[in-house]
């Protein structure tokens, strides 16, 4: 067991756990931040994505000890119904998610990507989102929403 202090969505927290425990379990079970989802535990689907110092990472394979002293942002920290992130507005307006289990991955990954590449082409967007999974087949809506978000952010 080891103590790991870090910041999540602006709050300082401390987790007492097996240092190898993935960050995902600290967020979901210890901090009750349920937005990152368990999809595969293998970094193959992106459902667990959070931002670590602004970078989109897969929290299911990131040992909690590796985020010591760093800033983690979850979907709840990205935007709220009162103060939404443009990506969330776009996903809402395009009615993207069906089951919704994957949506955290698409929103968090595209938010980090568009911040650095606001004028990305369709091909660049597809490359950036490679590896994320959606099982309900909402891909067409996802791409529509990201294009809409680009407009909102312009």
């Amino acid at each position: 067991m080891a103590l790991t202090p870090f910041v999540v969505d602006g709050q300082s927290v401390q987790i007492d756990s097996d240092p190898q425990m993935p960050l995902l379990y600290a967020l979901r079970d210890d901090l009750q931040l349920n937005n990152p989802k368990f999809g595969c535990g293998l970094a193959q689907c992106g459902a667990c994505t959070v931002h670590l110092d602004g970078q989109a990472i897969r929290s299911c394979v990131m040992p909690v000890s590796a985020v010591k002293g760093k800033k983690v942002t979850t979907l709840a920290g990205l935007g709220t119904p009162e103060k939404p992130h443009p990506i969330q507005v776009a996903f809402l307006e395009e009615q993207v998610p069906q089951c919704g289990h994957c949506i955290n991955g698409w929103v968090m990954t595209s938010a980090a990507f568009l911040k650095k590449n606001p004028k990305a082409t369709d091909a660049e967007i597809k490359t950036a989102l490679e590896g994320l999974k959606c099982r309900c087949g909402t891909h067409v809506s996802i791409l529509r929403a990201i294009k809409r978000a680009q407009t909102l952010m312009a």
Partner: protein, 796 residues
């Protein structure tokens, strides 16, 4: 900009705009005509002649007792009658603030179904859509309408709600008549307010009449449960010509909480004092635990073993510790009996296995005689693999088994059946089990959710604490029930004039459901089988659904034995449009082969033989919208690196008709097929919510595209090798179609039929037919993945 603010599944929305806003909320109209002929005299609640006549005719049809007709202000109840199908209060309630609650025994899986049901209830009750709240899927508050099943959410599921809402409105008018001392014929309803026509000061609201109280009135129940459950009141529902709310594109309720994460799905359910569990299932097909070294998890804090017969699980207070314990647990597994064929020999196995059952479901004329005298016979065989639901998250469930009460939280799309299964597994009366449904991480039929909830209940009973079970990725991919692999053979006879005179279609396959499509019987669950219950087995498949009128026609199926009799990772059950993709991949490709053999255009050929007028209209719409150019067998230039082609497929599905034109690109070097553009023509009768329907069709199409191009369960004789997204690849974002054009054919005169599955079944053949158009080569085995495409192109 406005946003949804609700975090629960209510229908109160704030972003309704334009015509939706006007029509779903605040339009004023005269509902006098809709009030019908039922007149209750103002004094004493007695019945007028016309009311008696209507009640009598209803009774003659086996309908409601006169008691329902005579509901009065004095007979409404302060206490809710018990949940029974023949109680109006089991279906609809008016809250003190005038909001309407409707209790729906099916569930929405992110496709607007709850919105559509609310539109129908609002329509019949003459309230704005905003006032309607749908409570779905909980066994304590809704009846068993079969859960999500076969795209029947509206087709079957809306019927009792529609009838109940109409009946509630009828009674409310009677109560208003009594209260205002004015005949019903002189009353008008606007958004839950009943006023005297021509005197807007004399009025009463639904809330004032009955808010917070109960109708205490009977409806006629057809004595069925599940999908066919229906009830009727005395009231006649509106005719489609009167619809104002039905037909509007009202947005969904569950998007905001998903995008902002302000509410959770089944994976997020936690109850105080619960333990986390992981079920440990063998990696070797057909093997069981011979020895378990309990000491191997001793070092993990709080980790415990749960073992009974062949059922094995670990529990721990912290989830990560349960995950670690499941990994660390040392188990000696018995040798696998190697029950599976070699992967490459799957279809050979299907061809050679004994036939357990053969059924000729459709037969006309003498196919064999016609084939034997034919000028030309066309024959082909088509192969489909095992496929996995591979839901986005492995299933989870929470169970709290107490001595006198069991509560389960489940993402199963059939929560009432999950309740029945838990009661049967734990041998307790079904009344002591309450199932609370929470949306799951993907649900396309009987996936792993049905097993997770029975696992959770069993472990909770064993450890005496609430338990949360979640699978790991391999549980969701390797151990979910599979869509069956199949071999389809088709033959046709063509006469001297080029007319198709005989058509013979046969499927040989594993049963479509070796375990039932719901988990109400523990024999159909992994835990049940691991505890020693015998497998029930299933023996059924299906035939193509279309309206081709060949003079002689036979369609049949043959089912072969299961690979393992119990607890098999390759057990089959229903997966979105069960067996529809398999069958129509073959049948609609074969139709194209016949068009080619007779030198006809694929759409012209279909329109010539399809006889149902709605089918022909759908084909015509797809052809027109896609800009289809008729073609015969003209030579094409196929010298390019990337070849493009177009293909059509059409089918019926339980009343719905769909056609799709696929336009694809084939990269000869990489073998990659890109489904670039699709045109869908879709007729599911009356359309309740056009935008919801479009999203549903889009998702169905893309999911089916994934299954057509990539999905195939890998296995070896002793194990399933598809355990994650690397070993069970699905469609990636780069494969997204550039465009999906959808033509919705609205038929208000036809009752609404399902939309969640029909599109799935036409995609595989449309792709394969487009592949033939592009390359001149037939792909008769799915999936059409790059390796297979390269092989096919290099050997032809």
């Amino acid at each position: 900009m406005t946003l949804f603010k609700n975090t629960e599944a209510t229908n109160s929305q704030e972003n309704l705009r334009g015509d939706v806003d006007k029509l779903s909320g605040s339009s004023r109209r005269d509902f006098l005509s809709a009030a019908g002929a039922l007149v209750v005299s103002a004094v004493g609640g007695g019945l007028s002649t016309s009311a008696l006549a209507q009640a009598a005719s209803a009774n003659a049809a086996g309908a409601v007792s006169a008691g329902a007709v005579g509901t009065t202000l004095a007979s409404i109840a302060a206490i809710k009658p018990a949940l029974k199908a023949d109680e109006l209060d089991s279906w609809v309630a008016i809250q003190p603030d005038g909001a309407v609650v409707a209790y729906y025994g099916k569930v929405d899986l992110g496709q607007s179904l709850d919105v559509a049901i609310a539109q129908i209830v609002a329509e019949e009750l003459d309230v704005s859509y905003r006032k309607v709240k749908i409570v779905m899927g909980n066994s304590a508050s809704s009846l068993n309408q079969g859960g999500a099943s076969s795209a029947l959410g509206i087709q079957a599921g809306a019927k009792p709600l529609r009838n109940a809402a109409a009946e509630a409105r009828r009674i409310l008018l009677n109560l208003a008549s009594e209260k205002l001392n004015v005949p019903v014929a002189q009353l008008i309803v606007d958004d839950g307010e009943i006023a005297v026509k021509g005197n807007s000061t004399q009025k009463v609201t639904y809330a004032e009449l009955i808010g917070g109280k109960f109708f205490n009135s009977k409806v006629e129940w057809n004595k069925r449960i599940g999908n066919p459950l229906d009830v009727k009141g005395v009231a006649k529902p509106k005719s489609p010509a009167e619809y104002r709310v039905v037909g509007l594109s009202i947005p969904r309720n569950d998007v905001a909480w998903k995008v902002f994460g302000t509410n959770g799905n089944i994976a997020d359910v936690k109850v105080p004092g619960m333990l986390h569990a992981r079920v440990v299932r063998t990696p070797w097909a057909g093997s069981v635990a011979e020895a378990v070294d309990e000491a191997s998890i001793k070092h993990i804090q709080g980790a415990r073993l749960v073992r009974e017969k062949n059922f094995l699980a670990v529990v721990a207070p912290r989830e990560w510790d349960a995950v670690r314990a499941a990994k660390a647990l040392k188990v000696t597994w018995s040798a696998s009996p190697k029950p599976f064929p070699e992967f490459e020999k799957l279809h050979e196995h299907i061809r050679q296995a004994p036939t357990r059952k053969r059924t000729e479901e459709s037969k006309k004329g003498d196919v064999m005689a016609s084939l034997s005298t034919a000028v030309k016979v066309v024959e082909a065989e088509y192969l489909w693999p095992f496929q996995s639901h591979a839901s986005m998250g492995p299933a989870s469930a929470v169970a709290d088994v107490k001595a006198d009460k069991i509560t389960i939280w489940t993402g199963s799309q059939k929560p009432h059946y999950a309740r029945d299964g838990v009661a049967a597994l734990l041998k307790v009366p079904v009344e002591t089990v309450e199932a609370i449904w929470v949306q799951g991480p993907g649900s396309y039929g009987r996936n792993d959710a049905g097993d997770a909830v029975l696992d959770a209940a069993y472990i909770s009973k064993m450890v005496g604490q609430p338990v949360r079970v979640q699978g790991m990725r391999h549980d969701g991919t390797a151990w979910d029930p599979k869509a069956p692999a199949s071999v389809h053979r088709a033959r046709a006879a063509i006469d001297a004039t080029g007319k198709v005179v005989a058509y013979d279609f046969t499927t040989r396959a594993f049963s479509r459901a070796t375990i039932d499509s719901n988990e109400s019987d523990p024999r159909d669950s992994l835990v049940g089988m691991e505890l020693g219950l015998p497998s029930k087995g299933g023996m059924t498949f299906g035939i193509p659904e279309e309206s081709y009128a060949f003079d002689n026609k036979r369609m049949s199926w043959e089912v072969i034995p299961d690979l393992i009799a119990s607890a098999s990772p390759m057990r089959t059950s229903h997966m979105r449009d069960p067996v529809g993709l398999q069958i129509q991949f073959a049948s609609e490709q074969f139709i194209d082969e016949l068009a080619s053999a007779t030198g006809e255009d694929p759409i012209a050929f279909r329109m010539k033989y399809a006889k149902a007028p709605r089918d022909i209209a759908v084909l015509k719409a797809a052809a027109e919208k896609s800009g289809w150019e008729p073609r015969g067998n003209a030579k094409r230039d196929r010298s390019g690196k990337v070849l493009s082609g177009r293909g059509i497929a059409y089918a019926q599905r339980a009343g719905t008709i769909v056609a799709v034109v696929a336009e694809i690109e084939v990269d000869r070097k990489t073998g990659r097929i890109w489904g670039r553009k699709f045109t869908v023509a879709h007729d599911c009768g009356l359309i309740v919510n056009p935008q919801g329907l479009r999203y549903t069709i889009e998702g169905a199409l893309v999911q089916a595209l994934s299954r057509t191009l990539y999905e195939e369960v890998q296995f070896a004789p002793d194990k399933v090798k598809s355990v994650d997204w690397s070993s069970y690849p699905i469609l990636e974002i780069k494969d997204t179609p550039e465009n999906i054009d959808i033509v919705l054919i609205n038929r208000p005169e036809a009752p609404p039929t399902g939309a969640g599955e029909a599109t799935c079944r036409v995609v595989p053949a449309a792709i394969a037919n487009a592949f033939f158009d592009a390359t001149g080569v037939r792909m008769r085995q799915a999936p059409l993945n790059p390796a297979r495409v390269k092989t096919v192109l290099s050997t032809t």
